[in-house]
Subunit: 203 residues, 4 copies
DNA sequence: CTCTAAGCGAGACGGTACGTCAAGTCTTACA
DNA sequence: TGTAAGACTTGACGTACCGTCTCGCTTAGAG
């Protein structure tokens, strides 16, 4: 998100960036994000409310969306990566429940939806979100499913990459599309549906 | 999308809206939409390029997003609702392919993504999109799957509403999330995955 | 003010103008004039509040200012032309007091000021105001002073036309310029000043 | 007129206002003022013709009227405060002639009339005009007449404040009311009338 | 008793201006 | 050199009027 990721402060010359300033910026942005949503996280507003110069924001953040993302990460993102038990069904349930809990939480849900919405017209933001959120998530999911397949709990012929979209992607769809509710029951139903098909002909 | 949906023109009173003007508006908006994406479909720009008063736009369209949606519908939306054969697998394949074709078409894909993106910060737009797009689609899908289940091709215990998100929703996810490709192969893979699980235990 | 002053209704053809409509227009305009001042008497507002088509207003009134003037005349203008006693000093005092009372009345004063203000950028309105207000007033004043001069109460060498501006005009100045109060005391002071000079050298 | 009158620029912080921009604004406004009158001095028009952002105008000027006033001051206002000789009659004549010359000049006359007209519906503008124009004028006039009275040229009982309106105010009346001509002859006539009354009974 | 011109309500449309908000860029001074 | 403060541009939004232009209904006197 931030711009200076690579620059290592270039030999202590000049006035050093103020941590205090950065903190105030992110805190303010987080508040605005919470109160009014992504679309209200503007450089203008945050600068004014944080008592900070707009120039400073331009220096550290590429765009308002990027700022919002940084604030979100800084304040609301908590990825409590649940442990894997060895049983795909149990793991799936746990992971999806935790995932859905995040997406459907009244505070963070709309934020994530908003961020993904903004990303539709800002490829860079999309990439930033992908790097910090969706990609890691997907990798974890792939790993989980892969293990399940290896262990024989999932059919060998299954396409794991696609299955990820059929589980986690389905949740994103419920989050981003107007109709349909996203709750833990949905997470359970996803798993149930998968099991239902697998055990169907077994009966 | 348009504002006057409900009013039945109240018995010929007043000067009738100019079809010519309306046409120019939608055409221009469609062009802008194609060239620059949803976020560039602004009242200002469309009015200027269509040689139409901005006021007229405000009269007929609630917001730029709404205008973009109307233009999209008017010009790019073609729902060729494929026929149902009686075989779920064939039907699923056909429907999903047609669906994916729409979403992944280089012209319409980004438009839909952009519209859904805007809808994240405009509930009314979300509802409009739902009414004209996603809801009908979902209803068709539900129907299709329901038939399949009734016919016994899908396990009786399956949750159809959820399965829709696991198939069509997965496509939306691929469309809206940064990583992952959306093509007809993906559509096929979705169906294949489903079949794989169902036939898995049969072996 | 009204447009059709000259046209003699062209041989009774067609539907006659509705008195009811005209009444509603003028009443509404008068209310707006009272509540918000001349600058708020707009065709739009009056038409809406009177439940009348804007077209009708355009038909009968040349401009919003003109409408305001008509409403003012219709509702607030009362010229109680005081009688002449034969003594200039008494008459002057009476006339000026009555005049000032009109101009300084909290309701009508600002209206007149506003109308004269609008007239600065609308010559036609200026002429309309002149015809119905200022010119008659001036003529009465000239007559009064003329009589006084003939009777020998005012020096023969005095320029009556100019003196009118020094008395009535002074009141207009107080009305239209930011500084200076306009009240009956001012009217008296005007007369007193005039007498003071005349009797000065007599001492 | 300008907004920042009071703020003492707060010790060199921030980018200083561009003199060039300010010059272009006032020049353009002055031209529009000359060509089309006060009512055409609009933020839109001036911004466009000056090649300046409308925002900048909003920053420095409270209202179009205020801008017009500033332009007027900047370009057309020349107060050549004539010297006082010691003789009221001579001074009065000189001052009033100079005053009338200003008001009746084909360029500035209508401007002043227009400004005073706008002020009728804009109290703040009224105050601004008062501060820069009418009040100073009035003070000079009062002083002049006061001196005359002290010197015995005017009757001791005269109300100087009122007399100002009978002389200068009369000129304003001629300027602002439709009927009546305003020229130097009028100025002379004002003085003549005053002298006529004073010397009337002396004969 | 119809014809017809005008009055009228309703509303579309173009145009101009206002006032606001935000994104960006640039410039100056200070720590 | 980072930061604060602010000027300026650009462009969009939304509102308010103005003035003009259809429509179609209504009304009353002329034929």
């Amino acid at each position: 998100m931030e711009r200076n990721d690579a620059e290592p402060a270039k030999r202590g010359r000049g006035r050093p960036p103020s941590v205090e300033v950065r903190r105030r910026i992110l805190e303010t942005a987080a508040v605005v994000l919470l109160e009014n949503g992504v679309s209200e996280v503007t450089f203008d507003k945050v600068a004014r409310r944080a008592g900070v110069s707009r120039m400073t924001l331009y220096k550290w953040f590429r765009s308002p969306g990027s700022l919002a993302l940084a604030a979100f990460e800084d304040t609301y993102a908590h990825t409590l990566r649940p442990p894997s038990s060895g049983d795909v069904w149990a793991d799936l349930r746990t992971h999806l429940r935790e995932f859905v809990a995040n997406l459907s939480e009244p505070r963070t849900g709309p934020m994530i939806a908003g961020l993904l919405g903004s990303a539709q017209s800002d490829p860079v933001l999309a990439e930033e979100i992908s790097a910090t959120f969706t990609r890691p998530r997907r990798e974890g999911a792939v790993e989980l499913l892969h293990a399940g397949r290896t262990r024989g709990q999932l059919p060998a012929s299954i396409d794991v990459e696609v299955l990820v979209d059929q589980l986690w992607g389905a949740c994103y769809a419920r989050l981003l599309l107007p109709e349909g509710v996203l709750d833990e029951a949905f997470a359970d139903a996803l798993v149930a549906n998968l099991r239902a098909t697998i055990h169907a002909s077994a009966d």
